[in-house]
């Protein structure tokens, strides 16, 4: 019974994707005739390496988009997936060796690690920007090197507060507090009623980096200033460390070992009732509910998302993942690469794809506000302005290989983890981080 229902679900999903693909194809063929800026080279084929999907339906719609592109232009596109942390080393090696996938789709500042190995896509970016109301400011930072666009900042993964409505109600809060003080009170109250919160403090490049940077920035701390001078050792950072320790003390034990998957698992198992994540926990609960799991159906009903609270600096200091897509100069088919990038970002493709991602991904240009996904479910709402609320990797400083190294080395995360565990005083933790940052920004 269960099995048949599941296979039924799977097959309907497949026909859905198929229907979407065929409807896309008609439009795509017309697009190739009229709007395409660069006609792909004769006999072109493309290989694209992307971060591995978090939500199956996102990948399904992406593959439908790819199939439509192939149908319209005759260019086959092979899509490879890698874990989030593995894209960067692979892209770096490929850039060095001068061979590998034609396109890399990675995280944050990836294109800036080897900006001279990225195809200039300025005309594509300008076309998309002009047509769709302009790129988000953060998208320009990630996509541009000087005046040149070296990548398209395709989408953002909104990292939000995920919580159980019933738990915060039980803790005496009708809604998620909008300021850091209230948020701390909520965490304390959750601990008191035995339904604690928890966020990853292990080497978790997604969720871990997201919350520690929010915590640092919301108190006015920064790793480097606008000229890349290290300024982490400051009273503001110290305030952030004290605040983080206060949170940590009322969280479920064990968060220091959490990687990106642990909070999902603990949340679904009702071990924690508030954490930070994309909307993938909600999606997982909904998927289980669709397979007939009643407990998960109730949980999905109860899950909600919220913006990050605003700290003493008085403005949002969120840190969402940006996924830039770049073409490599060694490709034999640069026009095909550009055509694909343009195709992907046209609202007719971009909209349905983001719809398939069910708010796991947020748009990078203004016209994206009107996409169907943002009216599909009120719980998606906090993900909508991700591109406009996020700060960029490196904070005030440059987006480049140094910022990437600091993220990969978990400088901020280790500092906060050390202070939280009580293993070092805030001053010591800052000193260690300062030293680390100086090493990277030397």
């Amino acid at each position: 019974m269960n099995l048949t229902r599941r296979s039924l679900l799977r097959s309907t999903a497949a026909t859905g994707a198929l229907a979407m693909a065929t409807s896309l194809t008609g439009w795509a063929k017309a697009w190739a005739q009229t709007s395409m800026l660069h006609a792909p080279e004769e006999g072109a084929t493309l290989q694209l390496l992307r971060w591995r999907r978090f939500i199956q339906s996102e990948e399904d719609s992406f593959m439908a988009l790819v199939a439509a592109f192939t149908a319209a232009t005759g260019v086959p596109v092979e899509v490879l997936s890698e874990g989030m942390d593995d894209v960067q080393p692979k892209a770096s090696v490929a850039a060095n060796v001068g061979s590998g996938p034609d396109m890399f789709w990675g995280l944050y500042s990836l294109p800036h690690l080897f900006s001279d190995r990225c195809i200039d896509v300025t005309d594509v970016a300008d076309y998309i920007g002009n047509k769709y109301g302009g790129w988000a400011p953060s998208a320009e930072v990630y996509g541009k090197s000087g005046d040149q666009w070296i990548a398209l900042p395709v989408a953002y993964n909104a990292n939000l507060i995920n919580y159980r409505q019933s738990a915060i109600a039980e803790a005496g809060f009708s809604e998620m507090p909008g300021d850091t003080e209230g948020f701390l009170e909520l965490n304390r109250a959750l601990n008191r009623i035995g339904k604690p919160a928890g966020m990853a403090l292990g080497f978790a490049s997604g969720d871990g980096n997201a919350w520690v940077h929010w915590c640092l920035w919301s108190h006015g701390g920064n790793l480097v200033d606008a000229d890349d001078n290290v300024i982490i050792n400051s009273p503001e950072t110290e305030a952030a460390l004290v605040y983080a320790k206060n949170l940590y003390d009322v969280w479920i034990p064990g968060t220091a070992s959490w990687n990106d998957s642990f909070n999902n698992k603990a949340f679904l198992a009702e071990e924690v009732f508030l954490t930070n994540n994309g909307v993938s926990i909600y999606a997982a609960a909904q998927n289980a509910a669709a397979e007939g799991d009643e407990k998960m159906a109730a949980m999905a009903e109860d899950i909600n998302h919220a913006y990050w609270p605003v700290g003493p600096v008085g403005k949002p200091t969120e840190f969402h993942i940006c996924y830039p897509l770049m073409g490599m100069t060694y490709t034999k088919y640069p026009n095909a690469v550009k055509a694909f990038m343009q195709f992907m970002m046209e609202a007719e493709n971009y909209g349905p794809w983001l719809n398939g991602a069910r708010a796991y991904l947020s748009h990078a240009y203004a016209a994206g506000e009107d996409f169907a996904v943002w009216t599909a479910d009120p719980k998606f709402a906090p993900a909508k302005p991700a591109a406009y609320r996020t700060l960029t990797a490196g904070g005030l400083g440059s987006v480049g290989e140094k910022a990437a190294s600091a993220l990969a080395d978990f400088v901020v995360l280790s500092m906060i983890a050390n202070a939280c565990s009580g293993r070092s005083t805030p001053q010591d933790a800052m000193r260690v981080a300062e030293r680390q940052a100086q090493r990277i920004y030397r």
């Binding site: 290989e401 990437a404 050390n418």
Partner: protein, 320 residues
Amino acid sequence: MADVPLSPTRSAAAKAGGASAWTRLQTNRNWLGLWFMLPAAGFLILFLAYPLGLGVWLSFTDSRIGRPGEFIGFENYAWLWGDDVFWLSVFNTLLYTTVASVLKFAIGLYLALLLNRHMRFKAIIRAVVLIPFIVPTVLSAVAFWWIFDTQFSIITWMLQGLGLIDHQINWLGDSTMARASVIFANIWRGVPFIAITLLAGLQTVPGSLYEAATIDGATRWQLFRFITYPLLTPIIAVVMTFSVLFTFTDFQLIWVLTRGGPFNATHLMATLSYQRAILGGNLGEGAAIATAMIPFLLAAIMFSWFGLQRRKWQSGGSDD
């Protein structure tokens, strides 16, 4: 073993009967040796000696992934010298190696002594004991990862069921527990190797020695201390050199279980060098960390050399 009694015969035969044949080959022996050595030497020079040298050179450059570096002298080392995380990794590595090796040795020797006794199903038991050593480290580490899960640990569940504890154990999230957990996993995998090799050593100890000593009224401890242990010393030296060396340079177990966390408390030099070189992209700095391991390795090798020399000296010319 069998060749040794024969060796006098061999030289005699070489001098007498086969003299002409041997002299014929004597002339081109060095060339012949070279030909036979070629494949092995090729591999070891191209993929071992050359990278070893290149690694040392890299540690003096600022190479990054995707970009050849320039010579910067001791800059990488100077930064490491003032880097708390690096020193923490050195401390972790030494702690990990020392504690794991000592315990592996103690448990391994104890297990070997147990297995050396007369019992039923000995062959099967011995075969089963070795299984943790056969199964690839990463695959068993994955099992430990799940066993040491903070929320869903089966050990926590069992201890709670027995009423021994009433809270979750933070296996991999607390620095002390995380260190203990990874050391435990390392011991688990290393004990079979030590036990089985020491068992082989034990089986060469002539039982007559024990008999004679027992008749003289020696206690069990005295038997071990004055017969088993001295005869076993050479093999212990070699086994422990290997064990220390591979524990010191361990990577996979840590990478699967903690990736160096929490708070860098389980970062070994090998994992830190991977993190900085491959994930962070600073090849030069990663190479410097790897090169910093070499003095420790040399110390271990000297120790082994000493053990081997001593063995030769012990066995003298008598019967080896």
